[in-house]
Assembly symmetry: C2
Homo-oligomer: 648 residues x 2
Amino acid sequence: MSGLPAEGRRRTVIENVTPQVDGGRFPAKQVVGDTLVVEADVFADGHDEVRARLSWRPPDNPAWQQQEMDPVGNDRWQASFRLGEVGRYEFFVSARVDHWRTWVHDLQKRVAAGQDVTVDLQIGAQIIAAAAERAADADHASVLTETAAQLTASTALAPGLTEIMDANPDLTWATSLDSPLAVVVDPVRARFSAWYELFPRSASPDPKRHGTFDDVINRLDYIAGLGFDVLYLPPISPIGRHFRKGPNNRESGTAADLGVPWAIGAPVGGHTAIHPQLGDLGGFDRLVHAARQRGIEVALDIAFQSSPDHPWVTDHPEWFRARPDGTVQYAENPPKKYQDIYPFDFEASDWRGLWQALNDVFRFWIGHGVNIFRVDNPHTKPFAFWEWCLNDIKADHPQVIFLAEAFTRPKVMYQLAKVGFSQSYTYFTWRNNAAEMQEYLEELTRPPVSDFFRPNFWPNTPDILHADLQTGGPAAFEARLVLAATLSSSYGIYGPVFELGESTARELGSEEYLNSEKYQQRTWDLTGGARLRGLIERVNGARRAHPALQTNERLLFHPADNPNLLAYSKNTANQRDVILTVVNFDYHATHSGVITIDLAALGLVDGAPYEAVDLLDDQTYTWIGPRAWVELDPTVRAAHVLWLRQLP
Amino acid sequence: MSGLPAEGRRRTVIENVTPQVDGGRFPAKQVVGDTLVVEADVFADGHDEVRARLSWRPPDNPAWQQQEMDPVGNDRWQASFRLGEVGRYEFFVSARVDHWRTWVHDLQKRVAAGQDVTVDLQIGAQIIAAAAERAADADHASVLTETAAQLTASTALAPGLTEIMDANPDLTWATSLDSPLAVVVDPVRARFSAWYELFPRSASPDPKRHGTFDDVINRLDYIAGLGFDVLYLPPISPIGRHFRKGPNNRESGTAADLGVPWAIGAPVGGHTAIHPQLGDLGGFDRLVHAARQRGIEVALDIAFQSSPDHPWVTDHPEWFRARPDGTVQYAENPPKKYQDIYPFDFEASDWRGLWQALNDVFRFWIGHGVNIFRVDNPHTKPFAFWEWCLNDIKADHPQVIFLAEAFTRPKVMYQLAKVGFSQSYTYFTWRNNAAEMQEYLEELTRPPVSDFFRPNFWPNTPDILHADLQTGGPAAFEARLVLAATLSSSYGIYGPVFELGESTARELGSEEYLNSEKYQQRTWDLTGGARLRGLIERVNGARRAHPALQTNERLLFHPADNPNLLAYSKNTANQRDVILTVVNFDYHATHSGVITIDLAALGLVDGAPYEAVDLLDDQTYTWIGPRAWVELDPTVRAAHVLWLRQLP
C-alpha cells in the first residue's frame, strides 16, 4: 500500500484559485481601496454539500480573517474583501464536505414526500451532538445538546440551528491550498498616474545658465496646471567626464559639453550624489516638498550603470568585469562600443555586496522623499536581483512605486512585472493602427497579464520620437495623447517638446530628437503650444473627474465600420460613470463611420435616449440605440472623449 | 539582507513548460509510439545567448537522457523525444547563459567590422581554458588547451570548436524546474478504440435459456465483423437477491426475475466472483482468450457498490455506514431509496482496508487477462482514492486502461481524468446541433483539456436512449454513429439494440429503453439491421485504414453556410491522410450548402484539383478550391466521410 495519503477522507478539491500568477509563484497586484474578489473551483465526489472558506490577512498581521465563500455556479465559489492598506496581503481557500447541510437538504425532501423520518432524525441528532462537543461557546454547546436530545423535523429545519451549526463546523477532513497566495497592494498612483518628464538642465529660461532644481520649482505651477501628478526627472547624479558625449551624440568636442545624465558618476559622487550644475541635496529636497504641495510626486530615474569616473570603479573594482588588458569592460553592442558606460558585473563573486549597494541607492532617495522610481533598462540586470531588491524595499516602504523602462521582448517585459515592478513601459508607441491597438490592449488589460502588469503609455520619450509624430502634424500629437491617456490609466509625456509639437528627428529614419536634451541644454518658449496644452488640460481634467478612466479593468472595444476609427469605453463597476472614446488613426483625412455600442455592457437602455458630452469641447449629442454615427476631421479634432449618460 | 537567494547568479528563467497539467500537479497523457513535444519559455536578462536542455527518462530507468532544445521564436524553445514504452515518463527543462556562444556571436560582428580583436581573443581563450578544465574527455581537454594557447579569429570561429565547447558546458549557474513533470504513456487503445457493449444474459439465441460466456464467444465473429476491438460487458459478478428489480425497474415479482447486474454480490461471492448463470471463471477465461484471438479486448464493468447480499456486508460491516436502527445505509437520492444497493463508506475509519480491497478487485481481473475497465459512477468515490488506486495499479500494469463512466458536472469529470482515468464518457449524447457540437469538441480536443482528458463518444448506452434516436429514425442512428466515430478516436455503441435500430423508450420523456436488458433477458435477431451494420462496418474500416481518424489532435471545423451541416477534418501530422466529414443534423429534411475548406491546413493546394472519395459508399467527387457544395438527403445518407487527396 505504497503512496497512500496520510488521510484518505479529505474529499474536497480546490482548483483554479484566482487571482493567481503562475500558480502562485508571483503575487497579483491591486491598489489600496480595491475589493479583492477571490474565486475558486471547489467540489467533492458524490452529492454531499460542500462549503468553501476564504482566509486572508493584511500586511504585518499574522492573524487570519475568515469568511464563507458563496457558490456562483458551475462549482465556482467566490468571496471578496477590501484591501484597506498598502503592503502584501496573503490569502488561501479551504473547503469541506458539510454533512449537516447535506442532511438538512435531504430531510426537507423526505418531509415534503411525507416519509417516515424517525431514523433520519436520529442521524441528525448524532451530527448535532458532535457539533455540541466541538463548540467552544458554552451557549452553543448547551443549545446544540438540548436540540439533539429532542430533535424534531421542525426544530431541525429552523434556520437558527443551521447558523449555530455553521459556527461549529467539522473541519477534521477539510482541505486547503498547499500554501497561501499573495497580492501586493500599491498606492492608487501605481494604477492611476499622469507623468510629465522634463530635463532640469533645460528648465532655465536663460540659455546661458544651466537649469537647476529651483528652475524646476518655478516650472511646477505650469505642470500642475496641465494636470500632471508625477514629475519625472532623468538621472540627477554627477555626469561622467571620460568619453562624454556632445550634442546629437557626437564625441564631445569641448569641456563645455554637458554630457548624458545616464553616464552616472564623477569624482564628486555616484548614484547618491547630485550633479553640481543642478544644485545640491537641499535644492532637491525643496523640489520634492514644493511638488508635493501641488499634488505632484517627484519620480527619479535610476540607471544602474557607471561612467568611468564613478567612485565605485576605484572603490569596488570587483563589481565590474576586468578585461585581460587590465581595463574595465565597457558597454558594447558589437561592433558598437559605449566607452562612457561601465555595466555592473552581476556575475561578480561579490554579487551580494553589489546587490546591497544598489538596494541602498533606492533607500537613500526614499530617505529624501522619493516614492516613485523609473528604472532604466531593468532587463539588463538579473530578474533574481529585482525580485529580491523590490520586495526587500517594499517590505519596509510599501508605498514605493517602480516603473520598468524595458523596451524588449514581451516575455522579458512581463517577467519584470511579475518579479515586482509596479508599472511598465509598453509597445504603445509602435501600435499605429486601430486593429493593432485593440489587439494589444486586449492582451494587456485582461488576465493573466492584467493580474501582474500595469501599462504606462507614452506618446513620446527622449529616446522615441515616433515617425507618426514626425509626419502626422498636430492631429498625430492629439490622437496619441488621447489614446495614451484614455486607454491606459497611467500615461506620460516628455515635455515641453511634446506640447510644443517638436517633431524634427536627428536624421531620416531615426526616432531620436534633433538637438536632444539628452546631450545638450535647450531653452523653451512655454507660451507656445496653446492648442495641445488646452487638450492636455482637458484630458487630465477628464481623467480626474471620471473614475472610469482611473482603471483599465473594464476597457471594452466597440466595432466601428471604418478601420481608421477605434472606439472603446471604460466604465465603473457600478456603471454610473461611462466614457466612450473614439479616435481617428488617419491624421491626414476626415473619417466617419458607425460605432455599434454594446449598450448593455455600459448599463444603457436600448431604445431610450442617452446623452454624449464631449469632455474635450463640451459639445453634447443625444443618441438612441446602439448605432452612433461619428465623423472626425483631423484639422478640427482627432478624437471624441464622450461621457455617456442615460437621459431621464 | 534577508531573503537573498542562495545563488544570485542564476540568470535564466524557465516558464510555461508544456505539456503540463495544473502546474505539474497531474501527469499529461500520451500513447506509446507518440513523439512528446516539450516546449518552454527560456530567457535571461540582457543580451547574452541562452541555451535550454530537455532531460527525460523512461519508466523504471533512473538515468536521465539529455538533449539540447531549439529556439522556435519569441523566447520559446522546443525539443521532442519518442515515447517507446508504456508507463510513466518524467522530464524537466534546464537552462543556462552560454558565454561561449555569446562571445562567438560578438566576435563575428567585430571581425566583420574590421575591429582589433586582440583583447577579445584573450577573453575567448579564458573561456576555452575554463572548458578544458571541465572536460571529462581527455581528447577534448587537450584540444581545448591547445586552442586556448594560440587562439586566432579563424580558429575561434571554426564550427568544430563550438561543438566541443557545447559538449563541455559551464553549468555552474544553470537553472532548472523545481521538480520534474510527468507524462503517462498508455497503450494505443487508450486513444483509439471502438467499443461494443452487450449483455451476456441476452447472448443466448434461446429465450428460455440464460446467456453464458460461451454464447458471447459465439457472438465474437459478429462483433469482429462489425470492426470493434473492445467488447465491454456489464458487471459479471453475482447479482443480489434482496430488493432485486424486475422488468422495467419494477419491484421484483417472482424468483424468476434476473435482477440488475450492478447490484453486486450474493452469498456465492462478490466483486471477484462470477454470476453463476453466466458460467464460471473458466468460461470467462475462455472468452478473454477467444476475443483476443480476434483482436478484441474484453472490458469489464467495475461498480464499487454492494447488494445487501454481498459477503462484505457481513465480513466487513466497517466498510458500510450503519444507521442508528442497526440497519445498513442503502443508496438514496431523497426521497428516492435504492434499497438493493449499499454504497461503501469512504469516510470509514478503516478506509485503508477498503481502498486495498477495491484495488485488489482490479488486480484479480487483471490476473484473468482483463486490461480495460469501465468504472461505474467513479464520481461518487473520492478523487484521492482514484488517484492512489489507478496510479498504484498502473505502476505494476501500465497497459491497463480505465474508462470513467461519470455523467456529472464538467469540473468533476475533468478531475477524474486528471487523477488517472484513461478515457471518459462525455456530454456527446446531449450535443444535438452543429454549433453545440463544434463548441464542445473545440473544448475537448485542445489544451488544456486534451492534455489529460480523452473522450469516448457513445450514441447510446443501456441508460441513455436519447430523444434523437427515439424520433429521428434511421438517419439519426446513422448521423450519431458517424459523429461519434469520426469526431472522437474512441467511441462505442451498446448493441445489438443500436444496430437493430431499437428506439422505444420506457415512457414518454424517458431516456430508458423499454424492456431494458438491465432488468431482463432479451433475444435478438441479428439478421436484421443490415443498413446500419453495413454503415458500422464501413466506418470502422475507415477508422482502421486512416490514421487521421485515430487521434483527435488535429480536429478542425470548416464553416458551412447551412447551420444544419457540420463539417470537420482530421489529418495526420504529415498531412498525408486527410478525412473530411460532413453531417446533416436534421434527420427529417434534405440540406445542402457550401463548405469553406481550410485547404492550407490540410496540405491541399488552392487552385489545383483534389479528389474526395466517400468512404461510406466509394462515390468520388473532384473538387477545386476551398468552396465545396454538399447535399445530404437523410433518406439516402446522413453523412459523408470523405478521403481528400490532391490529384497529380
